[in-house]
Amino acid sequence: MPDKIKRGDGLPPAMTRLVKELSRLPGVGEKTAGRLAFHLLNRPRDEVIALAESLLEMKERVGLCSGCFGLSDTPRCAICDDPAREHDLICVVEGPADLMAIERARGFSGIYHVLHGALAPLDGVGPEDIKIKELLARLSDPGAVREVIVATNATVEGEATALYLARLLKPLGVKTTRLARGLPAGGDLEYSDTATLQSALTGRREL
């Protein structure tokens, strides 16, 4: 067998490049990237162009809302610009995905503040690394905000952020509340873990 054969992955360079780019995506390994590349190769040209254009458009147009720091393709997002919303009620979330989750629940009529992270002492993420300063700026007008709901995750980082915010906001005289923690809808008491049950008991409400 000749020993000077150049061996690659057997794909044309354009496919290899696409596989390499796709495998950078979270949760996508090289095999999945290869399957996606073959799928795209077999799709009609206009579908592939639409995908490529939407990626470019997203990158060029989507930025942060100047009000809440959520994602927006206009200077202020639709939620911040909606006069029907309660602008004196701010829900603080860690990221845009959390904002979307609360919007999907359809139970909140206020506006948001997106921190883009949470305090993580073990990772060296401090208050200056997330949008806490920007939240304080929004609260600088006395009386403009009635309540701040801290809706950070129920993780160590989320709790640290909530406690830190409470420490900053209480002296400002702004009512600061935390999302309740407890049993999930349809949850079975018997199978609940102790931490959830303790939180549910602490946060019980009168019927």
Binding site: P26, G27, A154, D193
Partner: protein, 259 residues
């Protein structure tokens, strides 16, 4: 397939990996420090349900892999271990983060660390019950340093053995000597030294000699004692601990009132 093993453990750190997995580092009672991958940890409420967060005190079930040092974590349960609850106070989270990060820095993978596990679990349980105090921080630091082989001496001069209470108005903590030297001997310690009051040195000596539980009831050393410990830790840990800055913003390094 390797047999499933189990041991009590405390989660030191955890990070998300791919869509639903987590890579977790724990200090175990029986197998030292261990890192493993928990497949589906973010999705599985039954096997993990919030048990792989920093400070979690769990019965860890895992299987070793034939290759690679990461074990497969199969489940984590509270069992009948004393729960550690720090999420109701910012100071508890800050000091707890520092405790687990310092332990992580001083413990090496799979070396026996039963005493370190006992020190860390006791300290975190006390922290959850009594809150963050300068005495607890100093007691934890001294106990863990002692476990790691750094028995610091504060009750007498490291050079002439003069007792700290009769050594004069000022002592000097010398990192390279692992303890204090008196004013007379200072010139013989070319490494220099950080001034520390005899009261702070004696407070650290008392805290170091007592059990963790008893140490918490003692008066802490002053700011000079806290800085001495911080300097020593800084000299032996090969990286800046990331939790220090946050801890210092919540609970100043001084640890206690200056004397």
């Amino acid at each position: 397939m390797a047999a499933e093993e189990r041991t009590p453990a405390i989660v030191l750190r955890a990070r998300d990996y791919s869509e639903s997995d987590r890579i977790v580092t724990l200090l175990t009672r029986d197998m030292g420090k261990l890192s493993g991958i928990a497949r589906g940890a973010k999705a599985s409420k039954r096997r993990f349900a919030g048990k792989l967060e920093p400070f979690s005190h769990v019965m860890l079930y895992f299987r070793r892999r034939p290759l690679g040092h990461l074990v497969f974590i199969t489940r984590a349960e509270p069992a009948d271990l004393t729960p550690i609850r720090l999420d109701d106070d910012l100071g508890k989270i800050a000091l707890g983060s520092y405790m687990v990060e310092l332990t992580d820095a001083l413990a090496s993978e799979e070396n026996e660390a039963a005493d370190a596990y006992r020190i860390l679990s006791t300290a975190l349980i006390l922290l959850g019950e009594a809150g963050p105090t300068p005495a607890l921080r100093q007691a934890f630091e001294l106990k863990l340093l002692g476990w790691a082989g750094f028995g610091l001496e504060f009750d007498r001069c490291r050079l002439c053995a003069a007792p700290s209470e009769t050594a004069g108005a000022r002592l000097y903590f010398v990192v390279a000597r692992g303890g204090v030297v008196c004013t007379r001997c200072r010139s013989e310690a070319p490494e220099g030294g950080f001034p520390i009051s005899p009261a702070s040195a004696l407070a650290l000596a008392r805290i170091g000699a007592a059990s963790l539980e008893a140490a918490c009831a003692n008066s802490p050393a002053g700011a000079d004692g806290g800085v001495s410990l911080a300097r020593f830790i800084g000299s032996i840990v090969d990286r800046r601990l990331r939790s220090i800055e946050f801890l210092d913003s919540v609970m100043p390094t001084g640890n206690g009132p200056s004397r």
